[in-house]
Symmetry: C2
Subunit: 360 residues, 2 copies
Amino acid sequence: MNSPDPKRRSRSRKGAPGILDVAARAGVSGATVSRYFNSPDIVRLPTRERIEKAARELGYIRDRMAGALHGKMSGTVGLVVPTIDNAIFSELIEAFSNELHLHDRTMIIASHNYDLMREVSIVRSLLERRIDGIALVGRDHDIAAVEMLKVRAVPTVALWNSTGVPGIPTIGTDNFQSAFDITQHLIDLKHRDIALLFPDTHSNDRARDRKRGVLNALNDAGITLSEHRDYQCEYDMASAKQLAMDVLRIDAPTAFVCGNDVIAHGVIHGAIRLGIRIPEDVSVVGIGDFRGSAAIEPPLTTVRLPARRIGQSAARILIEQLQRSDASQVCDTTIPSHVIVRESTALNTSCAETRNIREG
Amino acid sequence: MNSPDPKRRSRSRKGAPGILDVAARAGVSGATVSRYFNSPDIVRLPTRERIEKAARELGYIRDRMAGALHGKMSGTVGLVVPTIDNAIFSELIEAFSNELHLHDRTMIIASHNYDLMREVSIVRSLLERRIDGIALVGRDHDIAAVEMLKVRAVPTVALWNSTGVPGIPTIGTDNFQSAFDITQHLIDLKHRDIALLFPDTHSNDRARDRKRGVLNALNDAGITLSEHRDYQCEYDMASAKQLAMDVLRIDAPTAFVCGNDVIAHGVIHGAIRLGIRIPEDVSVVGIGDFRGSAAIEPPLTTVRLPARRIGQSAARILIEQLQRSDASQVCDTTIPSHVIVRESTALNTSCAETRNIREG
DNA sequence: ATCAAAAATGTAAACCTTTGCATTTTTATT
DNA sequence: AATAAAAATGCAAAGGTTTACATTTTTGAT
């Protein structure tokens, strides 16, 4: 039936049918097929049906790369995170990805392990793939990366913080405020001897903001944090557990405020191992409300950071930016966080002040 | 300085410089610049330096899409997972991604939430992006997806299982064996009344294999699993905790074998809440050895599934397949799993047989 | 039926790089 | 120094789609 047309592509892309094959089979020109795929409504119904049939029969799959060649959008969006392998970000990633899929875009994700130089190389690599837009987690970025994006006018959003890089719209929560609030909760419970477990804040602006929040709350309450109460701890349950056990054995505070929930989980398990009761003997709070924080025993008092909403909003805002190319108004979006009081915190009973209240 | 060459591209890709701009500035032809980027060693040193300088000054970023048009590789590889937001897969993903990055490829990831139809649509979307290769998690896939990949001869690997789809090389662990082994451990400890907590096995072949493993081990030991001991439980800590509490309150078994570590964590916390001691009163095992399983209290006895190694191996094997296009020998790779005995299991003291041993 | 306007379709150039082949330059050999 | 062989470079076509512009078909009003 199909005549051995000599003009057929020799062996392109492993012989996969192209737009022209579909066109020939449907008895229309390539242009029409192209139009059918890009805006079906501008081709007449009968034609449309013929094209659809031909495409289906041939198993045609469009080649977006050839399209992107024309300055057309590639339909891919980049997401750059510090790490994938972490409950912190996986919710965010999934929400972002799903929202993108809903709008027929594909996500390219890459992680740089908190290495800002590697982030630059990732951004370059994404740009080579002609991403339509990009989302960067955090506020700290190398100038080179931001510059490349600016020069090419690639729509960009920064995630996870509420105040961002100037010129880049930011979607996230106020890390400072979250930390402030959860610390205030501890202060309200009369805790005065509070230990901090935070990761290195050098190239991690989220952790930095949070720590500042804790410090400010403490300061406002007239509490001075003794030097040795500022422990450094990675985002890792095992090390947090170990560290907490050391601290609890030698010189237990009445409360811990942790850089995130993973650290808090570690502290809780350390306490359990030592037979120290939470919250009776010591209170623990985290930040993040990760999956599992509600189910752990005791359920963790923490700050709910709406990762899914951030991911979803970010995708939406980015897509909106793509559609109207006037990347004009850069407005930051702050998504509120809430302290969730569960069972890992209690009134400090060892404090003199508290004792007075109890005895009074 | 730069003459207003009328031949310049009108406004391509937002005025970003192309290979020809670099060529002009370096005083060579476009072909040479192209060669410089693809195999630097075939252009002479002085030329090379001029090109590099020009590219740097112009801030040139190559356009891999235009390159891919020539049947050349796009440099992107797809990874399709059931879900990202889950400790099960995030290690795998990260390892896969990192290995790819090492070989200068980019990963496109997508999740289908255990919906095989959506997987088909994802595969199509990836194909539109001209991925060079693809990794699919699991053994259950819609024919349409496999067929599309086969027609286009896209190198494919299946992950996570050890026995796979015919014709697709598979890299993973033996889920059956893992489950068998961990169950055997429980049997060795004289447990006879064992409860199963597994998710719906309908479109989840991993869970199905594991369950079969448990059942076989039980059967081999001459233990018949009473109907009501086969509980269905999602991969979610909170529901596992709730379910475990219900079970423990009404009719406690002496041991739980859980579909994965997340479920096991839930069981442990449920037991803690009820004041039931692990392992003294009840033993618990998981499968997976997720991040945190060693740090939890009590540390979880489980099976270590080398997710990172699977991810890394998969990426390597895929890349190797890309390089030599003869997708000839399809060999499955089984990466061994190991039972890790920690502190959540103990000899069953309530069993008559055990009592005899103790009293004997 | 007729004609103008609107809608649908076709033609061909353009998008940016890669690559086969031709040409020039370099290197090695005598 | 001359020559052949090898290496480096240039020229131009190709790769699959989009799109401005030209052309044809349809629609709606008379």
